[in-house]
């Protein structure tokens, strides 16, 4: 046996020393990991743990052709922490000022202002922990961010915005300067590439990334996605240590929403509105274009309008521009409303296309009272024998009133509500209102004669449009819709919207008969010759409503009175009448001062717009003429109904 290389005494000493050292280390480890664990973990968590949110990308809003109406992008915002600046970087300040297009004196003022006194009511919110590089989710709109005030009531300025929306090239050039304390924050931004196009439908998201109006607000649940987060550790320079990632919930990007709005159609409509605005200088105007077969909106535009990219630059007195007046404002629909009385009378077989009406008397007896009949705008050669087609074509007020009176309050009210008046049509955006239709028990005897001609009732532009679509759609009231599909982040369809029938209002036969009668409006004899489209049968109805306006009374009070100098001109129709493919409503409010002869008639102001729109939509929507059967039937109709 070998003697070994050490004496047993030394070996024992060495072994004991080693065991003591190991024992010491083990004891210390036990102390740290067991006894002191909680307090140490608390310190570590406080100093090293980092919570990082992962912001989900908001989904896009697409038009019917897949074009972007709203999208999300990230913007780089350049800022400076004046308290992190180094003196040796000062010679490069003028270069930075030149790059960002800021006067050197202004830049120097910002860079040298390191404190500020605490205002009595802080104008900007404090944001703690806004450090360089950690601004993925920082909101860059606050131009100044500061630390909490010290004992003397002064705040350290930690961030001052220098420039928004820094392009890539400029970003690289600024980084090359290497000025410590000058850094970028990334800020989520909503972009509307088409600017004001369909802005009332699309809506907008504010700077705090909150959806405010339109589809942005209605479909926010789908669009916004779900933010994620990760918890890990950071080093002494506040940099994330990805190897110590503890937990992570990834962000789920928002779904995209595809609308039925066709950018091309919408553009045509907005051009027409621009033309109307330039020609007539109205107070407001609205145009709606839909496919009457499924109720989907192809275009909806209002004048005045706004650009959602710059919504915050609108002065308070211009905020009304953001209102979707087609669904949020009401007006008296006027003669267009006569389609309700005519359709109801035909459906109830109270009148037929061969019926004759005596429109010569200016008073009738109704519910035991003598009721004055509304005046006629058209002089019939034989007012004692006016046919139903003439009632429609020449917009006979008394003819429509007779039909309503013959129906009676209850039945007429049922049809009025059936056509969608006095209730919301569940249109998803714009703050739809129900309009004004009093309960039938509150009607005076005169009311039925006025409601029949579109007075004593108020509706939205959309309600009147949908009522006309009932005629175009074989008597069925459809829910007006604007969302076609919801798609996930991978582009797969999650939900598809289909047509929704709200009510069967009249039979298909009645609807077709009314459509044929309405074809007489856009003819040489009708009230809207200007709406006629060559080669196509147009069915529609004009409306010219005297406006109810505030008038100061001798006693100083304000009363609403009908003012004959102010009108709302409208034309609501569809074509081809035999096989409707598109329904168009044009409503122009208060265009009298620029209208021919000083009165904004529907046939003079709105009907030409209908024609221009229709002519432009024919190639876009590939609308095919469907003339012969309906035209022949209408000709036969008129011939047969002549006394």
């Amino acid at each position: 046996m070998s003697k070994g290389f050490a004496s047993s005494y030394r070996i024992v000493l060495l072994a004991t020393g080693l065991f003591v050292c190991f024992g010491g280390v083990a004891a210390r480890l036990v102390w740290l990991h067991v006894v002191d664990r909680d307090s140490l973990l608390k310190t570590i968590n406080r100093t090293r743990q980092q919570y990082n949110p992962e912001v989900a990308r908001r989904g896009d809003i697409l038009d019917a052709r897949g074009g972007l109406l709203a999208t999300s992008s990230t913007q780089r915002v350049l800022g400076v922490d004046p308290n992190s600046l180094r003196p040796q970087d000062e010679p490069r300040w003028p270069e930075l000022a030149a790059l960002i297009g800021m006067p050197v004196s202004e830049l120097r003022r910002i860079f040298t202002t390191r404190h500020r006194d605490v205002p009595a009511a802080p104008a900007v919110a404090l944001q703690l922990g806004s450090l360089p590089g950690g601004g993925d989710d920082a909101e860059g709109d606050e131009s100044v961010q500061a630390s909490p005030p010290d004992a003397s009531g002064r705040q350290l300025i930690r961030w001052v915005k220098l420039r928004e929306d820094v392009p890539e090239k400029l970003h690289d050039e600024i980084l090359k300067l290497g000025i410590k304390g000058v850094y970028f924050n990334q800020v989520a931004r909503r972009a509307y590439p088409n600017q004001q196009l369909a802005s009332h439908v699309v809506g907008y998201v504010n700077k705090q990334q909150e959806a405010v109006t339109g589809i942005e607000a209605y479909a926010d649940f789908y669009l916004r996605g779900q933010d994620g987060w990760r918890v890990g550790e950071r080093d002494g320079r506040n940099r994330e240590l990805p190897q110590f990632l503890d937990r992570r919930v990834p962000a789920s990007d928002g779904y995209s929403v595809k609308l039925s709005i066709d950018t091309h159609v919408q553009d045509i409509v907005e051009q027409e509105l621009a033309y109307i605005a330039a020609t007539y200088e109205p107070k407001k105007a609205s145009i709606i274009v839909t496919d009457p077969r499924d109720g989907f909106i192809l275009a909806m535009a209002n004048y005045p309008t706004f650009d959602p990219n710059t919504y915050n630059k609108l002065p308070p007195e211009e905020h009304h521009r953001m209102r979707n007046v087609a669904v949020a404002d009401v007006y008296e629909p006027g003669s267009v409303f006569k389609i309700v009385a005519v359709a109801a009378a035909l459906e109830e077989r109270i009148a037929s296309t061969r019926s004759l009406f005596d429109t010569s008397s200016d008073r009738i007896s109704h519910r035991g009272r003598v009721v004055p009949m509304p005046a006629e705008d058209h002089r019939f050669p034989n007012p004692q024998a006016v046919t139903l087609s003439e009632v429609v074509a020449y917009s006979s007020n008394r003819g429509a009133a007779y039909l309503a009176v013959a129906l009676g309050e209850e039945r007429f009210n049922r049809y009025v509500r059936g056509f969608g008046f006095g209730r919301r049509l569940e249109f998803p955006v714009g703050g739809e209102v129900a309009g004004l239709l009093r309960p039938v028990k509150d009607w005076d005897p005169i009311d039925i004669t006025r409601i029949a001609i579109g007075h004593s009732i108020s509706s939205t532009v959309l309600q009147m449009h949908q009522a006309m679509s009932v005629i175009a759609n074989d008597g069925v009231l459809l829910r007006p819709q604007v969302i076609r599909e919801v798609r996930d982040a991978a582009g797969e369809v999650v939900f598809r919207y289909d047509r929704v029938e709200l009510d069967r209002v009249v039979s298909p036969d009645t609807a077709r008969t009314v459509a044929r009668l309405l074809m007489g409006v856009a003819t040489k004899e009708g009230t809207a010759q200007a709406a006629a489209i060559e080669g196509y049968d147009v069915a529609g109805k004009t409306g010219t409503t005297i406006k109810l306006m505030d008038e100061v009374q001798p006693d100083g009070s304000i009363k609403k009175v009908y003012n004959r100098k102010h009108h709302i001109a409208s034309f609501v129709g569809f074509f081809p009448a035999g096989r409707p493919q598109v329904a168009i409503s044009v409503i122009v409010d208060d265009a009298d001062h620029k209208a021919p002869n000083g009165v904004a008639y529907g046939g003079k102001v709105a009907a030409p717009s209908f024609r221009r729109l229709g002519e432009q939509l024919i190639p876009v929507l590939n609308i095919r003429a469907h003339r012969s059967p309906s035209a022949a039937a209408f000709a036969a109709h008129r011939a047969g109904s002549t006394p």
């Binding site: 046996m1 003697k3 590439p193 088409n194 600017q195 190897q243 002519e615």
Partner: protein, 131 residues
């Protein structure tokens, strides 16, 4: 007895040294592994940041392209550069309502046998072969 205890201590020492070497190499391996994990995690994070940056640029570019294609701007450019482009006013598809076969035959015949009014009197010529 003394020899045995010395031998045991020697063996113990050797075992201890082997254990320390083994433990040390395990420790070094763990350190190396953790370092590699850290490097990989940082690389992944950098890659993720790069992907996010590319996505960000792509989104911004897409929005810019769509913005440049908006109808109002295209109209303005058309006017500024006097391109004279006009909106399509007719469907570039002709809907044939009559008998298609008949229509095609007529068109073919029109080429082979033009109508008498459009036909010009042509002298009949014969080419003679040279022998």
């Amino acid at each position: 007895m003394r020899k045995n205890s010395r031998a045991f201590v020697n063996q113990l020492l050797v075992c201890l040294l082997v254990t320390m070497a083994f433990g040390g190499s395990i420790g070094l391996g763990i350190v190396w592994m953790r370092h590699q994990i850290s490097v990989t995690a940082k690389a992944n994070r950098a890659l993720l940041a790069e992907i996010n940056d590319v996505n960000r640029r792509s989104d911004a570019l897409e929005a810019q392209i769509r913005g440049e294609q908006r109808p109002a701007l295209l109209r303005e450019l058309n006017q500024r550069f006097q391109l004279g482009l006009v909106p399509m006013n007719e469907v570039p598809v002709v809907h044939v309502t009559e008998n298609v076969t008949q229509r095609m035959v007529e068109r073919a015949n029109r080429w082979s046998f033009p109508p008498a009014e459009t036909r010009e009197a042509q002298p009949v010529t014969f080419r003679l072969a040279h022998r």
